[in-house]
Subunit: 310 residues, 2 copies
């Protein structure tokens, strides 16, 4: 029986878990609705059940560890979700300790975007690259930074909040208190909001704005131009800051790559001497929504390696 | 005889070198004008002489290594200065190999702001802190990032170009090709340029603008307000990106701290959830112009430690 780890990707909508071996083969998986409205106890039960079933299915002896990716600000040392828009019911509760108690096994928590970055590094577009940044373009924008093969966590585990990079100093207000955050100018939500502001139609989704742009609608095209430029401003700063070889984009908005990538790359070229004069790559991530699951499963192995190195 | 290292801090104006022991005691030092106009051969001669004299004075047996901090984009692996506004005569030349050849000793090159950050970590405001960012506010703005106790260099050694963070997307044009770079809105040069734009007086220095502000001149005060806000935008993004415990500011502009720090900190508070809700510190560096010298001297020991760890 191969050694494997269990990764759990917890979102506001879905809870997915997989047993994955060291070669990246998925041995077994579970998926269920996350349903935060059912409350903390129900969510904990679902998480513990999913892991238990996979452990039973794959054999407890081969289990290297359990990693869990969750959205929000996480206090890593304490194993607590400090703030999560989608999972408020799990905030300020010793979630890691409680899951460890119920499973009788060690659990590693990580922010979901960080986990996705690690997943792309392990089995996706970042294979063989030890230093990369991932931006997840969804309803919000998350960030994950891999430095020297491991997640850059910051002293409290709050690093990589790249969706809150200021790209327009007096731009759209954000729930974080800032104005002009990247995620208010380049997420799916931002695309829909711009469509509404430009009177393109009421309640259009980002996907519908994309379809309009593809059918030649000028206003819709302008939205992806603006969105690409906003991404370019943020990416130029990331390139200038990190000088990493690779920056990846993932998330549902990636479907509009052909519309936003040209102005985005043009903006980065204009704004970053480093980008213009090196072979720095800005590319699509390849694991899609699987990245978080792979990254979560990868966490126990990264930790084992860190301990061996230290 | 104590073990010591020689640090050399090469600028556009001054060349300074010091022999420093492991406890941070300066054993001996040399200083001379850098005079880039005299050309490459003269500059190389000055550098080699300064190091040779210190080695003779302190004894070759105790020398742990030689570190050199230089301004500009450096290709670390190749040991070449790719681009330096102040030291164009040293560009695209195997400077490290040539100095090693003349001295018969191993030399480590580093960007000057990176070296300064390392110096502050070793003997300055960052003592005991393994993760910090330093912004050097002078005629330009440089950045140095210390992550896990070592300089974050990026894959080509070009990381930390924080002076080229976009803080005003359609702001002042910069030599790097961008508009609205931090250093075009918050350096000494930017302060002087704003004074000229506001017709405060022709050819005023940043210091003179400061004196005007201190004497109650409203326009001059507005300049430090704008400059503090620009710094705040960049710092908020750094805090959101790294979640490091400490961000340091150094350089001549630090003299105006009382004028620019309040609006700067207010801006960071407003723009960074992480800053508002944690004990993240933004403070003055303490080594002044010595930071680069200490950091350069520190380079051989950091390298020895890295080799021991790997």
């Amino acid at each position: 029986m191969p050694e494997y780890a269990i990764g759990l990707d917890l979102g506001g909508t879905n809870l997915r878990a997989a047993a994955i071996d060291r070669a990246g083969q998925v041995l077994d998986r579970r998926a269920t609705a996350a349903n935060p409205a059912a409350g903390r106890e129900a969510m904990l039960g679902h998480m513990v059940n999913a892991v238990s079933e996979l452990r039973d299915s794959c054999g407890a002896a081969g289990l290297a560890g359990i990693g869990i990716g969750v959205p929000g600000f996480i206090l890593l040392k304490e194993g607590i979700i400090r703030n999560s828009n989608n999972l408020a019911c799990l905030e300020d509760f010793p979630i890691r300790a409680e899951i460890e108690r119920r499973l009788g096994a060690r659990v590693i928590l990580e922010n979901d975007a960080n986990a996705a970055a690690l997943g792309e590094k392990w089995m996706g577009a970042g294979r063989g690259v030890d230093d990369l940044v991932l931006l997840t373009l969804g309803t919000g924008i998350g960030g994950g930074i891999i430095s020297g093969g491991r997640v850059l966590q910051g002293y409290l585990g709050m690093a990589g909040e790249l969706g809150h990079t200021t790209v327009v100093p007096d731009g759209n207000p954000c729930g974080c208190g800032n104005r002009g955050c990247l995620e208010k100018h380049a997420s799916a939500t931002a695309i829909a909001a711009m469509a509404s502001m430009l009177h393109l139609g009421e309640g259009l989704s980002a996907r519908e704005v994309y379809d309009l742009a593809m059918s030649g609608n000028e206003k819709a095209s302008q939205i992806f131009l603006a969105m690409g430029q906003a991404l370019g401003v943020a990416l130029a700063t990331l390139v200038n800051t990190f000088n990493f070889p690779l920056y990846l984009l993932s998330g549902g908005v990636l479907a509009a790559w052909d519309l936003f990538a040209p102005p985005m790359l043009e903006e980065v070229r204009r704004r970053s001497f480093t980008f213009r004069t090196t072979d720095t790559r800005i590319e699509k991530a390849t694991l899609g929504s699987e990245a978080g699951l792979f990254g979560a499963a990868c966490l126990p192995w990264v930790e084992v390696k860190l301990k061996a190195d230290s």
